[in-house]
Subunit: 242 residues, 2 copies
DNA sequence: ACCTGAACACCGTTCAAGT
DNA sequence: ACCTGAACACCGTTCAAGT
């Protein structure tokens, strides 16, 4: 969006020398915007070049290929969390407050980039021997130091890292998938399969789903995130003292 | 693997009329095997045809396109769980036993197809208005009926469904990602970045990660799955009575 | 009935050539 | 220094034609 605006502002006037020069950052940001607006499969070197008013081949000056571009997209998004004081500040009011801030920070960027976020889980990890193989060793370091500094043993800190990671991944993937289904599949929802239809869109054989449709459709994401996070923190507290 | 063997067995002899005729099932199974062996990006209509001893265009007799083939792959894998009595049998010894069987059944097929499993999370959902948008309404039905039959209120059953789903997704995605990193990225691990190197593969700035490397590398997946599942079930028990 | 050849539009990527 | 044209190998997909 920022990149689009930059380019558009210049495309109006004509002086060719005032054309905003490409840079890695501009290419990556344009890729993020393009994925959010059109979806990952639509992100093509040629189309991205077109958006930037340039031939596809010019992009190779700034990124070394499509795969590397996707890695850079993930790094960019992860980088946004580093600009978030809530995320990057270690434990000052105890580890529970620390993990609360961390979790909400991650959730914020996941919701800000619902169609890019799944890339974080699907790109090959930075450190393959690290389990679970999440990206960005820096986070792992931050996490572990935070917990170690507040009374966790080595083993408890590592186990807490794993539990926290899988909780965030599962919850946020489902949450952004729900968002993506909203924005990306509206054209698939023809009238006959609308949720308010008398048969609920071909749910003839599924009485429970059909009857509880209203509950299943409701979005309690925030509240559920809070209570699940609270429960997780209680479990981690057990890890810490036990 | 099954499909490969079928074809190979016939390629030896020559009578052209005994050539195993293609079928949707054979194409889908070959696709599953190909993804497991070579990874998703390597799955190409042309290459899959080659594996089956046929031109790519012939595949379109049996599947209507690549996207639909991937959907069929997901359906095939989901279908494997339906053949699992542990999964498909409703609650007979209470809802906790039911969910234990369900969770382990899903985990079993996830580990059996580590490189296909992430497709379940990334394919567009069958019922976009269902949150979370997991595939296969039949499971949701099974899950809800099971819990409703054992004392859960409507609201508690739906909330339990969401908690259970995000738990399974998060845990299993990380677990299969760890497996994928094992088999798929061995070539990326040059000697200098091996975990046993003195600097742990460029971990200079990350003392905690570096020091706890052995703990982070260990695979406690089974044990962690069990304890996390147990904790989740305790939480769901609270939902049920409260 | 089932498979193929040829064709089309579209990819990612390279590199010598332009300005 | 930065971008482009032309080219290459490879996609998914269609369809008339073969057997």
């Amino acid at each position: 969006m920022v990149a689009d605006a930059d380019v558009a502002a210049v495309v109006g006037d004509d002086p060719p020398s005032s054309r905003v020069p490409l840079s890695t950052a501009i290419v990556v940001m344009a890729a993020v915007d393009h994925i959010e607006e059109r979806g990952l499969p639509e992100l093509t070197m040629r189309r991205l070049g077109q958006v930037l008013g340039v031939e596809a081949m010019s992009l190779y000056r700034h990124v070394s290929g499509r795969e590397e571009l996707l890695d850079a997209v993930v790094d960019h998004i992860v980088g946004e969390m580093d600009d978030d004081d809530d995320v990057v500040t270690g434990p000052t009011d105890g580890w529970q407050d620390f993990l609360q801030r961390l979790a909400h920070g991650v959730r914020r960027v996941a919701l800000a980039h619902p169609r890019c976020f799944p890339l974080i889980a699907s790109r090959p990890p930075e450190a393959p021997w690290l389990r679970p193989p999440l990206r960005c060793v820096r986070w792992v370091e931050l996490f572990l130091q935070g917990l170690l500094a507040d009374g966790f043993s080595d083993e408890a800190a590592v186990e807490a890292y794993r539990a926290f990671t899988s909780f965030l991944l599962g919850h946020l993937l489902l949450e952004v998938a729900a968002h993506g289904a909203d924005v990306g599949l509206l054209d698939v929802l023809e009238a006959g399969s609308a949720p308010e239809g008398p048969d609920g869109g071909g749910l003839a054989g599924f009485p429970a789903v059909s009857r509880l449709r209203h509950l299943l459709t409701e979005d309690h994401a925030v509240a559920e995130f809070e209570v699940a996070l609270e429960t997780l923190l209680d479990r981690l507290a057990g890890l810490r003292s036990g």
